[in-house]
């Protein structure tokens, strides 16, 4: 790789070359998902700590599966059973985990920046599995891999993102990633979730409050989950959201015929997305899930496996 990764804390600090390299490295692991016997011994003897300070099902299982398929053991910490409930600080919890000698820490936390805070204070690689409303880098990587599979390119895409963009770490990571490949973005959703500051986040961002107009000419449509559990936010009328922002087949026809529909899950059919769209030919939702395991395997392999000689050569090539 151009610059060897020590942690994966976000997409924003990565270079385009680093992203391309990660996606390239995910290819063989995609292949493995199709094998009848999926388990490798690559990381046998290594262990991965999965510290999910915020409830998570799919991302935790995806990382756990990725580790298992590489032969690594996992150590699980979940919010529900976390010692945080007993008043222990994040740092003490993390140091306790580290003392059990994992080789890597995969971490989800409700506070933006928590993985960076931890990464500066532990001696092992840290992977951000979602921090607050900041980033969810592996989600953006698996989305990119899915787009590459279907479209064969990442360059200069017209991307429309629908929903609560202000509070979405998935949206931020996708904005950062696809922007490094020259994407143009149209953001749509309820106005309070579309502050004008989003236009400063990356170049070529446009806000469009009407979903129909926002979908015109879109090549990628990313529907976000409606997060009803947000603190400090007045509740939105869900009926209104469905009326104005649900991704329906009629609305999707505004996009290019070969536009892809992505959703990070968990998905609520009939709320942010019409079931017909979710199950339709343009939907990539389950491929995203499968690719998630591949991307996370590649990442664990790169961070824990120690780069073999060929990796270093690839790195030079990528330079």
């Amino acid at each position: 790789m151009p610059d060897r990764l020590h942690h994966l804390l976000g997409i924003e600090p990565l270079t385009r070359q680093q992203i391309e390299f990660l996606l390239e490295q995910s290819r063989p692991f995609q292949e493995i998902q199709r094998h009848p016997l999926k388990k490798l011994a690559t990381l046998r003897g290594k262990s991965v700590a999965l510290a999910f300070f915020e409830p998570s099902t799919r991302t935790r299982i995806s990382f756990g599966t990725a580790a298992a398929r590489l032969g690594a053991d996992t150590m699980n910490l979940q919010a529900e059973s976390s010692s945080l409930r007993k008043g222990e600080s994040l740092l003490d919890t993390v140091w306790t985990l580290e003392a059990m000698k994992p080789d890597c820490l995969v971490m989800r936390h409700s506070a933006s920046g928590a993985p960076e805070f931890v990464a500066e204070r532990v001696g092992i690689p840290v992977i951000n599995a979602g921090d607050g409303t900041h980033e969810h880098p592996t989600q953006a990587l698996l989305d990119a891999l899915t787009i590459l599979d279907r479209k064969g390119r990442l360059d200069a895409l017209n991307v429309t993102i629908v929903g609560d963009i202000l509070h979405s770490r998935v949206a931020r990571s996708n904005l950062h990633l696809l922007s490094k490949f020259g994407a143009r973005f149209t953001l749509t959703g309820p106005a309070m979730w579309l502050p004008r500051e989003l236009e400063c986040l990356v170049p070529n961002v446009r806000r469009e409050p009407r979903i129909e107009a926002a979908l015109e000419d879109a090549e990628i449509v990313l529907a976000l989950r409606v997060q009803q559990e947000r603190l400090h936010e007045p509740q939105l009328s869900l009926d209104d959201y469905i009326l104005l922002y649900q991704l329906t087949p009629e609305r999707l026809r505004r996009a290019r015929p070969d536009a892809l529909v992505l959703h990070p899950g968990p998905m609520v059919r009939g709320l942010e997305i019409d079931p017909e769209v979710a199950d339709g030919p343009q939907s990539c939702i389950l491929e995203q899930v499968t690719n998630g395991v591949a991307v996370r395997m590649a990442l664990l392999y790169l961070l824990l496996g120690g780069p073999p000689a060929e990796t270093k050569e690839t790195a030079r090539a990528a330079d």
Partner: protein
């Protein structure tokens, strides 16, 4: 007798900026003139130094009683002396809250024993600063408070604020107001703007401050009370203060060194950049500098807010608000205001002395008969601030390792040299 010789006396009250000697006799200033000869007096050679009235800090947190892990009256007041301050006003948010005369007396008794500088406590406006019932303001005044404030727990209802102002006007006490509209501030950890959106940190808009300032300036007009805006950070609230002054209201404001030095663009996932009010936009920062220069801002106050590492070495959302400030205040003011040519030396000194003095209705002058409180500082002494060497118990400052030109060189309180660099 202590003779301060060869200094450059800067006295905003008399608009003096001249080479003069100052003779102190016990707790009072005895004589101010050129070439004083005082046989038998101890001589302090202040050649190359500015001799200013004693600095006053209108806004700090000494954490005692209750949070002695972060700071004590002893360590905090020592840090204040290192910063050139001769008098500091601790906010009432101790544990217990300084909302009654017993706590006020306890603070003052402790200060009398251990503090090298004057400690002028600020009393709570409401009982336990809970915004429901008035605190024992009269009893606290008799015990020695100099102002009233609920600081970090701003008075939520206009009705109670009106009562506090009415009451304090009659007592002749200034009401210090942390202007914050609570519902907009709820959950926010920095200023809302491009940076908060990038970091995914919850922001509060600038209007959080100005909405509350607008309400309370109107209440000051209604009641005739003296009202002082604590740590003002936005262009809009500065304009409201200016307008209030033009109407002849007894409205004043202070600005902190961190707000006139840093902006929200400096915020990273480092809790030393987390304070309330949060760092503002570039536009606000520029407005504050203009206000400091044109006289709209009355005082520089530190909002020295020490926190033990265990309260700051946590994820951003969970960290306490606040940074330490005594020891870097003057150096930052010189860096941002004086060395840049934005303000004159007399104005700079005013912001630390007669400015805050006026807010408390206390005079600050270098003249015979006045208290012998002086701050001597250098305009060009080069040094680097090291938080680990701080006299404060806490280390939570974004200015650790910053190099400065100019520093407090000696602090004299009641005729005694309490700090000398």
């Amino acid at each position: 007798m202590l003779l301060i010789k060869n200094g450059r006396v800067v006295d905003p009250a008399s608009q003096t900026d001249a080479a003069l000697d100052v003779l102190l006799d016990g707790e009072r200033i005895a004589h101010v003139a050129a070439g004083i000869d005082a046989p038998g007096a101890e001589v302090f050679d202040a050649a190359g130094l500015v001799v200013a009235p004693g600095f006053i800090d209108l806004h700090c947190h000494l954490r005692e009683p209750g949070e002695e892990l972060s700071e004590t009256i002893e360590t905090g007041s020592r840090a204040a002396a290192h910063g050139g301050f001769t008098a500091v006003c601790p906010m009432p948010n101790t544990k217990p809250v300084n909302d009654n005369a017993a706590v006020t007396r306890a603070i003052l008794e402790r200060a009398a024993k251990v503090s090298p500088v004057r400690v002028w406590p600020i009393g709570a406006a409401s009982r336990a600063s809970e915004g429901e019932a008035l605190a024992e303001i009269g009893a606290m005044q008799q015990a020695g408070i100099v102002a009233v404030s609920d600081d970090g727990r701003p008075v939520a209802t206009a009705k109670l604020m009106r009562q506090v102002m009415d009451y304090c006007r009659a007592l002749g006490l200034v009401v210090i107001d942390h202007c914050e509209e609570s519902s907009l501030a709820a959950g926010a950890v920095m200023r809302e703007g491009p940076r908060s959106v990038r970091l995914g940190l919850r922001g509060m808009p600038a209007e959080t401050e100005s909405i509350a300032a607008a309400r309370d300036i109107q209440l000051a007009a209604l009641t005739g009370a003296r009202m002082h805006v604590a740590h003002l950070t936005t262009r809009q609230s500065l304009e409201l203060v200016r307008a209030g002054k033009q109407q002849g209201l007894a409205v004043s404001c202070e600005v902190t060194p961190h707000h006139f030095t840093l902006t929200d663009e400096d915020v990273v996932y480092d809790t030393r950049f987390k304070m309330n009010p949060p760092l503002g936009s570039r536009e606000d920062h520029d407005a504050l500098l203009a206000g400091l220069a044109d006289g709209s801002v009355d005082a520089i106050a530190t909002d020295h807010a020490p926190h033990h590492a265990s309260l700051k070495d946590v994820e951003f959302d969970s960290a306490r608000f606040g940074i330490t400030g005594f020891e870097t205040a003057l150096a930052l003011a010189l860096e941002q205001l004086f060395h840049t040519g934005r303000v004159s030396l007399v104005r700079l000194v005013e912001l630390f002395t007669t400015g805050p003095g006026r807010v408390l209705e206390k005079t600050r002058r270098i003249a015979p008969g006045e208290p012998a409180d002086l701050t001597l500082f250098s305009l060009d002494y080069e040094w680097t601030f090291r938080a680990e060497e701080s006299a404060s118990k806490s280390r939570n400052t974004p200015f650790d390792g910053r190099s400065f030109r100019g520093a407090p060189m000696a602090t004299i309180v009641s005729g005694r040299i309490v700090f000398r660099r």
